[in-house]
Assembly symmetry: C2
Homo-oligomer: 553 residues x 2
């Protein structure tokens, strides 16, 4: 059998291939992206979630390079955990200038020998050779500038990986997607297309970023006081649009929030953000001006509790106190799972007297991902033999697969797989191997990577939902008999009132005494069992119960 | 000063007046609705949330009756906690036949003297006199049949409370909203309108329930195997539409899930649900038929883990195993906060081979709440002097207030207030009192009502996110000196590996020994402080640390 190309999607909390894709040929592995996810509602205490790097760790010497499609956290955030750990710190990392700028800034926060890094800048439109692969960086549009899709020329054929994309005919800056080049590749023959499925349930065509400008103009025209715009630090075209609108309406713009300031700095150096002379000012300077000359751009539109906007809502921001007359724009929509937090944020800001503007009240946000008509266009331009929907949950992959079938791609040429699946491609067929690669979620909490697993999470769930009760059982060290009623300490269980704890202690004392329970482990087991039942009967709750023995004469 | 009418909204997790509204005149209190909310993402362990009944408890002898607008949980679910506790069990409760049927079924599950209940049936269109109030039940449409709005005739004027509503011109059953009567009331003069704000951010007109029929027909036409429809048990018009579609396509319908079966039973008795002879069958019977003759209607469309659909997704349902060929319709949209759970449910069912159909892939659900054009119509028909938006978070109330102002209601006649606010109305003015009534959230967990407060919740948050470490410090009872290294027990903190715990125990031992710490409380404080710092430095996590002293010779 001829050598096959192996494609392996990894990571992404059920969004297949979101954080990482592996392309492997003749024992040479090309890694595309190394991102993180943010924890879901029931992942208690977890800071972030990494893809499982164990397959890469086991094959580290076969890795020929890492290619980054764009500078979003879910595509670059895993690099600090990958480089210098699973892979050597000097593994070549290829990306566009903005992506590399953001990576450099990120890695400088981690205790890594940043000197060893081997970051290689590649402009959209260029091609690099990495091991057996020739990788062409394709211009696309997305909610961060300088993002690319990839045309990966392999010995078995050309594979196109779209990365995150939308087709924006009128982007705020730059020349937009390379429609013609995609068509040319399609005409020459594409073996397989891996395409972003995030928006596959949405009909129509995602609006251009350009629609935001007029909406901002109207808000700026009507605002009596300050305008505060919250958006993603990486959504630089949005920041640009706010700067442009502010300049048109005679306002300065100040940036608030660490990541907003930092990202804008990198973007300005690289020419992805421009401001007329005097428009961008320091926050302190802006706050000295009359309110109707001030615009503030800040982070925290997703309700993140540590971000600048949340601190304004709580009244704990050091410099900005939200007040009547302020117009606050949330230039984003809640990421699924953040709805309740965003809603609380809006309510708190309204309670402080601000006018709040957010979708759908005005068109102050559009998605960065392609909708169904754009996905059809991508399929129609590239005309792949095989289609592998990626970047989305199973539901999105299925919706995307249905679109492909509507366009005439035979069902048997469409491959919906889960993370860790190994797809083997030759020029003529795709085979999904039976064995999967390890692809679970790896939790990061504090300094710990992967040390919070199923058991610790189960304990956290019990503790979080029910609290615990600790029984310190005083035992006569000579006889083993219980010497007194146990001391009961509870946390997170009930607000202590009435005689619940006294009766529980009494019950333990009598049971151990009358049962003549003397052996240490028996004392512990009996106490735990008895208290668990007692509390469930009394309260219909199931606190974790722990007993320890204390000696007492 | 002449006697004023007092209106007090209560409860609803920030959705103002959602669960309860009080109308008070001359020390006579009319209660409208007594509902519950389901906990938000960070209310760990909580089963449900009640309004604060303490004002009612303190004024129980002034309560003249409870009126229920419709049979949804957020309007009736609090009755088992209100009657026989804050209020006498025999307080008169007025409602339409379906609402009372559902209430009776609900109360029969609680240990209450159901014999004492005084449930009084009132048909839509009728008027009852309750204390100083004449209350007319107004026909409206909503996502449960037999819901009403209220025209409350008070000594200071007529107040209209819409309840939850939409304006459906073509409801599945019944004659629809009483447009003409609303107009007549408006022409005669309405002092104040309290109107449902849930859909106030949504432009246009909510589609009629009638649009679901054709969508179901298409799905039934194309389905090769079983059709499984998940929706709310109380959404009886939807169940009716499924029965009608199934009958048209030669299928039987079986109901699965306790609440679905029970609600349908009550609804059939009252004529709110009809099925042609032989169409409604037992689940067991249906499962013996060929797949293409079977429809199953079930609960669990919100991803509730205990519901029938979740058990099908997990493969733990006793009778139904989801398989290739099944078409599963989620005839609902996720309630804010449930998005992640619903998404997981969809993915799991797809992984079992089913075809999933849910909004927006097909029009299989419409909202039960009015959109902006309907809210404008309600305002225009009733022409109130004063407008008080209710049933929604602050954001929704503000959006609704803006609509009212667009229609020419002066800003000073629109009152956006929070729960517990006391509005005093005379025929000429509204005054918002400075003092509020207690209106916090009362948590129910197991048997406990209100015993989980701020402190217990804070402990649960720490325990859930970080777990705990317990140190049992062995102390010589004669000298007070530490006798050995403490025993450390942790739960929910780290998966124990390496020597972290050994080093921690060692550190405590040396610190206590060298510091000559002997006094019992000092031993505890010192151990807890030291371990808290030690674990934070080592792991950047903050487990709860507890120390207890054990005597040891």
């Amino acid at each position: 059998m001829a050598e096959a190309l192996r494609i392996i999607p990894l990571g992404g909390l059920g969004e297949i291939g979101k954080n990482m894709m592996l392309f492997e040929y003749a024992s040479q592995i090309l890694v595309v992206d190394a991102g993180i996810m943010f924890p879901e509602f029931d992942m208690l205490g977890i800071d972030l979630v990494l893809p499982d790097f164990s397959y890469l760790r086991d094959h580290a010497d076969e890795v020929v390079g890492v290619i980054i499609s764009h500078g979003h956290e879910d595509h670059i955030g895993g690099l600090p955990y990958l480089l210098g750990d699973a892979l050597p710190a000097d593994t070549p990392v290829y990306g566009t200038p903005l992506a590399l700028g953001l990576i450099r800034a990120k890695l400088s926060e981690y205790p890594l020998v940043t000197d060893e890094l081997d970051l290689r800048s590649v402009a959209a439109g260029s091609t690099v050779t990495v091991g057996p692969f020739e990788v062409e960086f394709l211009a696309i549009t997305h909610s961060i500038p300088d993002g690319v899709g990839l045309a990966i020329k392999t010995p078995v054929g050309v594979v196109i990986h779209t990365g995150d994309f939308k087709f924006d005919y009128t982007p705020v800056r730059g020349s937009g997607p390379g429609f013609a080049r995609l068509g040319q590749l399609g005409a020459q023959g594409v073996l397989a297309l891996l395409s972003d499925s995030t928006g596959s349930e949405r009909s129509g065509h995602t609006p251009s970023e350009a629609v935001i400008g007029p909406a901002l103009d109207q808000i700026f025209r009507e605002a009596a006081g300050r305008v505060i715009v919250a958006t993603f630090a990486s959504l630089l075209s949005r920041v640009q649009q706010v700067i442009d609108a502010a300049a048109r309406h005679g306002r300065v713009v100040a940036l608030a929030g660490f990541s907003m300031v930092k990202t804008a700095e990198i973007a300005r150096e690289l020419g992805h953000l421009e401001a007329p002379e005097g428009v961008l000012v320091d926050l302190g300077e802006a706050l000295k001006l009359p309110d109707n000359q001030v615009t503030i751009v800040t982070t925290g539109s997703q309700g993140q509790p540590e971000a600048a906007l949340a601190r304004m809502a709580e009244g704990t921001h050091r410099q900005i106190e939200v007040k009547q007359g302020d117009t606050i724009i949330l230039s984003s929509t809640p990421i699924p799972g953040n709805e309740e937090e965003v809603s609380r944020l809006i309510n708190k800001l309204i309670a402080r007297g601000a006018d709040l503007i957010y979708p759908p009240l005005a068109t102050v946000h559009v998605s960065g991902h392609a909708s169904q008509e754009e996905l059809k266009l991508m399929l129609s331009l590239t005309r792949p033999k095989f289609f592998i929907p990626v970047h989305g949950e199973l539901r999105h992959l299925h919706a995307h697969a249905r679109l492909a079938q509507q366009l005439g791609i035979p069902r048997e040429n469409v491959f919906v797989v889960e993370d860790g699946a190994v797809l083997e491609l030759t020029a003529h067929r795709v085979k999904v191997r039976k064995e999967k690669v390890a692809a679970g979620n790896v939790y990061v909490h504090g300094k710990g990577v992967g040390d919070v697993g199923r058991r610790v999470m189960a304990e956290r769930e019990i503790l979080g939902n029910n609290g615990f009760v600790l029984a310190v059982v005083p035992v006569n060290p000579h006889t083993g008999d219980i010497a007194d009623k146990p001391e009961l300490i509870s946390r997170g269980f009930v607000f202590q009132r009435g005689d619940l704890m006294d009766r529980a202690a009494e019950a333990v004392y009598h049971a151990l005494k009358e049962g003549k329970v003397r052996q240490r482990q028996a004392v512990i087991d009996r106490t735990q069992g008895l208290l668990t039942r007692f509390f469930f009967e009394e309260t219909k709750r199931k606190p974790m119960v722990l007993a320890v023995v204390s000696h007492c004469e």
